[in-house]
């Protein structure tokens, strides 16, 4: 290294194990899927969580925390193994597609600890972290129902995967909870990376009178946002609801406003941060499933929602309470 040496933020070790772990030798590896660490979705979120933790500890990138991007699914196993070979203390992977790779690799490196976000793998050295996407989606469904003037809202999914169906199901439930007469149209693009297709599907929905669309479609969703921007610039009143991260900025218009009504945030950053912290503390939840729900703020809407009226926010918060209390059971599948 040619830069200034990393500052060691030595904290008082609380117990022996932590002393062990907080030594300079603790290393975290992250394997992304094909989206890469700036996919504005779970890869980016995870990485942000890791970086946040590392910054707090004054870790140096490349030495104590690193990521490898996968070019395709066939890379998952070698990439996870690469960290295993180097005896990383904690290897994080995010995305449900990693399930099989994790199942294969984890037993081969019993001395390393692994964390999988979005899926469950039952291995003693794997911590599984999942989210209640349906709960967050329920809340944005409420927002959509409140915002729609045409009584017609839309959902656009990337590919037809069970995970995406959770978004879909929660959203429909949220809409119907507010007003059962609101119609929800839904379409899957069959692709997470085709903005043109997203734009076209959004266009047909808006033409049918839909005025709020919730997308869970990655890059394809870019086209959805684009279509909404176009319509608003042309004087139509339509909205998009973002996914995974706060997409407010992506929907920015030339007048400074945004077409993004709100976003269903999945706090993968929190998940990543927490798991590193727990591991360093010696509380690695190996073999356990951690579910992040509304209660833990694992899912939810952004703190700031310039496009939501106080009234809507109030309603959303009411539903949030009910869900946390268990008064409302949000479905995870849709027929």
């Amino acid at each position: 290294g040619c830069g200034a040496p990393a500052k060691e933020q030595k904290e008082e070790p609380k117990n022996k194990e932590e002393q062990q772990a907080s030594k300079e030798t603790f290393r975290v590896g992250f394997v992304t899927d094909t989206g890469g660490i700036d996919d504005r979705s779970f890869n980016q979120g995870t990485w942000e969580g890791i970086v946040k933790y590392a910054k707090e500890k004054g870790w140096e990138e490349g030495k104590q925390y690193k990521y490898i991007q996968s070019n395709e699914e066939a890379d998952y196993i070698p990439n996870l193994s690469a960290f295993g070979d180097e005896k990383y203390d904690l290897v994080i992977a995010s995305g449900f597609l990693f399930k099989d790779a994790m199942k294969t690799v984890a037993p081969q490196y019993p001395d390393s600890k692994f964390a999988l976000i979005d899926e469950v793998v039952e291995q003693p050295n794997v911590a599984s972290i999942v989210f209640a996407e349906e709960q967050g989606s329920f809340l944005v469904g409420v927002a959509a129902a409140k915002a729609t003037k045409t009584k017609k809202v839309g959902f656009i999914g990337g590919m037809d995967f069970p995970l995406i169906r959770k978004f879909h199901a929660g959203f429909v439930a949220g809409v119907k909870a507010v007003d059962p007469s609101i119609e929800v149209v839904a379409q899957y693009a069959g692709d997470f990376g085709n903005p043109g297709l997203g734009q076209q599907i959004a266009s047909t929905m808006y033409e049918q009178g839909v005025d709020v669309i919730y997308h869970a479609a990655g890059g394809t969703g870019n086209g959805v946002i684009n279509e909404a921007k176009n319509r608003v610039e042309n004087g139509q009143e339509v909205w998009v609801i973002g996914v995974d991260k706060d997409q407010y900025e992506d929907g920015k218009l030339s007048n400074g406003k945004s077409v993004v009504l709100t976003s269903m945030m999945k706090r993968v950053d929190v998940a990543a941060y927490n798991i590193i912290e727990a591991t360093q503390k010696g509380e690695f939840p190996g073999g356990k499933v951690t579910k992040l729900t509304l209660a833990e703020n694992g899912v939810g809407i952004p703190e700031k929602n310039p496009n939501l009226s106080d009234d809507i926010i109030k309603t959303i918060n009411e539903y949030k309470e009910k869900i946390i209390k268990g008064e409302i059971e949000v479905p995870t599948t849709i027929k």
């Binding site: 991007q69 070019n71 890379d75 690469a82 081969q108 069970p162 069959g190």
Partner: protein, 351 residues
């Protein structure tokens, strides 16, 4: 030395070797320009494929399907056809192998060959479509194969879902009797996914060379590729040869799919877009000069760049550099005439 450089007979291997060297040189220049020490990058690359037995095993795993798609594209080229559709044939073949692996129960000695056969046959059938359309309706194979790639993608994603036990994202694992994977090989390379596919690939490359160069069938295919009119004059069935050639090309691509589905994974996955094996096959075939041996070598080279790119990324070299180096190697390979002239001039100046 000068004689060695200017002797045209040596150009056959000198030119590809130089293309590769120049490609790495160009990559190094780009790295230097962006503030990266190329030595670090290349050291990481070498470590990435040879660093330990597992990495070596993974290198072979990555290279195996490339050998097959390279052979597929090259087989087309040798007979005057441009098969851009290896990608689609590969996808079809991967599902076929898995379907046999899941639906059938029999001893390994029959089951595995049957799964491979299924992949080859289905790949061939998928390639039959552009073949027959070209022969019967004179429709350009390039357009049809491009369209069929997308068709295959969606068709296979659908097919995966209707197999028994499948989720929306993948099938169940195949019966182990149909799998190429091997405890032995995996142990040998400390838990890599190395499977028997590479042996099949070597056999295929050998078969490729033998069919094209040594058989009457290959003779016909080459004749039709070079001059369909003369072939017709000589009594060969031109249309039948076009269709057959396309099908064999498709069979190679289908086998590439099997390498992935019953070798690397042991199940079939719904995929959102092309993974690029078919397109990489074009580069592999061209760099390998459409010859069996050349393809094996260039598949391993490209495989190294693919397998080693994450290792480079770990050494803080953006992994795109691997793609850029590949592009330059292919570009320099395309410049073979220029390189020949360069060699000749080198020799002359010294005289």
């Amino acid at each position: 030395m000068k004689k060695f450089l200017t002797n045209e007979r040596n150009h056959k291997f000198l030119v590809p070797i130089l293309s590769v060297l120049f490609g790495f040189l160009a990559g190094a220049i780009i790295m230097i320009f962006t503030g990266i020490n190329p030595l670090d990058g290349y050291r990481a690359l070498v470590k990435g494929v040879l660093g330990n037995p597992r990495k070596f095993g993974e290198w072979i795993v990555v290279s195996t399907p490339l050998m097959f798609t390279g052979l597929a594209v090259a087989f087309g080229f040798r007979t005057g056809l441009f098969n851009i559709g290896a990608e689609g044939q590969l996808i079809m073949g991967s599902l076929a192998a898995v379907a046999v692996g899941i639906l059938v129960k029999m001893p390994k000695i029959i089951h595995l060959p049957l799964a491979l056969l299924a992949a080859a046959v289905v790949g061939a059938l998928w390639a039959f479509i552009p073949g027959i359309l070209k022969a019967k309706f004179k429709v350009h194979e390039v357009v049809v194969t491009i369209m069929l790639n997308y068709t295959a993608l969606h068709l296979v994603n659908y097919g995966i879902k209707i197999l028994p036990g499948s989720t929306n994202t993948r099938t169940v694992n195949i019966n182990s009797t149909a799998s190429l994977s091997s405890e032995f090989l995996s142990k040998l390379t400390s838990h890599s996914r190395l499977h028997w596919g590479f042996v099949v690939a070597f056999i295929a490359a050998l078969a490729f060379w033998y069919i094209i160069e040594k058989t009457t069938f290959g003779y016909e295919l080459r004749a039709v590729g070079f001059n369909p009119h003369a072939s017709e004059y000589a009594g060969m069935k031109v249309n039948r040869n076009i269709v057959l050639s396309m099908m064999i090309s498709g069979a190679f691509a289908g086998l590439a799919g099997a390498m992935i589905s019953i070798g690397t994974f042991d199940y079939a996955r719904v995929i959102g877009g092309f993974e690029g094996y078919g397109f990489d096959g074009i580069a592999v075939a061209l760099l390998g000069n459409n010859s069996g041996l050349g393809i094996v070598i260039s598949a391993f080279l490209f495989g190294a760049l693919k397998a080693g790119s994450s290792a480079m990324a770990l050494a803080a070299v953006p992994k795109e550099i691997a793609n850029i180096i590949m592009a330059f190697i292919v570009l320099f390979a395309a410049m073979n005439y220029g390189i020949k002239m360069f060699l000749l001039r080198l020799g002359k100046e010294e005289k």
